[in-house]
Amino acid sequence: MRSVFLPNGFTTKRSVYEIRTERHGAWEMKRVWTVAVGAVVGLALVVGLHSKTRLSALPPGQVGQRSATGAAPPRSGSSRPAASSPPPGASNAPSRVTKGSASGSSSNSAVGSSEQYGYGMLSVKVTVSANKITDVTVVNLQTADQYSQQLASQVIPMLKSEVMSAQSANINGISGATYTSEAYATSLQSALKKLKFK
């Protein structure tokens, strides 16, 4: 049994619309950002928070505040002490968290948890250097069938692009849809937690 009602203030009359064509072609050419099929928005937030853009929007006091949540307090333009020292426990799991150093700058990487998604399982390895994510790779991907493997291999580079771009994009969030991305985001988040990046 269905009844019809209108939420407060809604009516059903309006509005001209326009047809827009070919506009997103321009966006592609600009390549201002790269973004993926999966909207890893949680991820974009996690990563985006560490970007220069977003941090500069906060008063200096905020940086200290965020450390109260366990976050390594990044500050734009400064070096990052937290990233250069491995997190507690990391030395016990050298295969999972690795510290590398090259010409004075150091990077850490960690493999996130294995996450199940619709048609398989994946885990993500993230590398952090100077308070920026410098690389994200999928180190373990198991799928039930070849089609899923194909699909995942198409999607994963996009997810990577999204993570990398979220660090610089001057946007607050991304609206889109999720698929493999949830597993990707979850695994990445766990990897970042291992690095105490967050």
Binding site: F10, W27, V35, G42, G173
Partner: protein, 260 residues
């Protein structure tokens, strides 16, 4: 609810719930950090409760039991009738393009529950004294107040099939929901034909209520061009549709950002 000022503190939280990651980005100045944190915790608790009630993946959820006919509508938590009522409204305004009753396996309000749940907790956050914020449930997001140093929230709309591009960036102070047949494989079901929608495309709806935006986005993703005009008649909601052939349609109230 106001703008995030220079003195605002920010609180970021990600919660895994409802099959996705729900991200909070909250700005506050008039309340303590502990108060903000406990508010977010309460909001997350509420999301988990909603998930427990509505999940069609959990066989023992009240919604699943209702679908199997094991219990009547009077025996399940009242949120279910509330949501189903909104679903009825959505069926009407979308000319049936959104129809939880037409889905195989029994009534399934999943297409609207996420938006509804996020909208509920947004009210909770505002009432607790959070000045401004964004709650993003895997791409369906609600905003309130104003972000730091800006009049509106800038939201990138992901491109449905071009990997290296956003389709566009819009400015809004409202909620944004995007639905497409590319998400979660093809899970969009056309109530008129009884078939899954397979054509890749993307439908975004912008407006005050994320509940409404969420179900209209689902409807528009299913209907494509055919439902655009009808769905655009819902006052207060802007539409942005990317068709499988790459054409785009939008209502005039969508604010596109041309310079970033």
């Amino acid at each position: 609810m106001s703008l995030a000022s220079e003195q605002s503190e920010v609180l970021i939280h990600d919660e895994e719930v409802m099959g996705t990651v729900v991200s909070f980005e909250l700005y506050f100045s008039g309340i303590s950090r502990d108060r903000a944190r406990s508010t977010v915790a309460a909001a997350c608790d509420q999301l988990h409760v909603v998930d427990g009630v509505f999940s069609t993946w959990k066989p023992e959820s009240p919604m699943s039991r209702l679908r199997r006919g094991e219990v009547g509508i009077g025996e399940v938590p009242p949120q279910i009738s509330e949501v189903l009522e909104i679903c009825s409204w959505a069926v009407e305004v979308s000319s049936g393009w959104f129809d939880p009753w037409a889905l195989p396996g029994g009534v399934d309000p999943t297409g609207l529950v996420k938006g509804w749940a996020i909208e509920q907790i947004t009210h909770l956050l505002i009432e607790a004294g959070i000045d401004a914020g964004m709650v993003n449930a895997g791409g369906d997001l609600a905003t309130f107040g104003r972000p730091p140093k800006s009049d509106a929230w800038r939201i990138g709309i992901q491109h449905p099939w071009k990997a290296d591009a956003l389709a566009c960036v819009i400015e809004t102070s409202d909620s944004v929901a995007t639905s497409g047949s590319y998400e979660r494989g093809s899970h969009l079901f056309d109530p008129h034909t009884g078939r899954l929608v397979n054509e890749p495309g993307s439908a975004t709806v912008v407006g005050a209520s994320l509940t409404v935006a969420d179900c209209l986005a689902t409807a528009l993703a299913v209907s494509g061009e055919a439902g655009f005009e009808q769905i655009s008649e819902v006052e207060g909601y802007g539409l942005y549709l990317i068709l499988p052939d790459g054409r785009e349609m939008s209502t005039s109230d969508i604010v596109f950002v041309n310079e970033i």
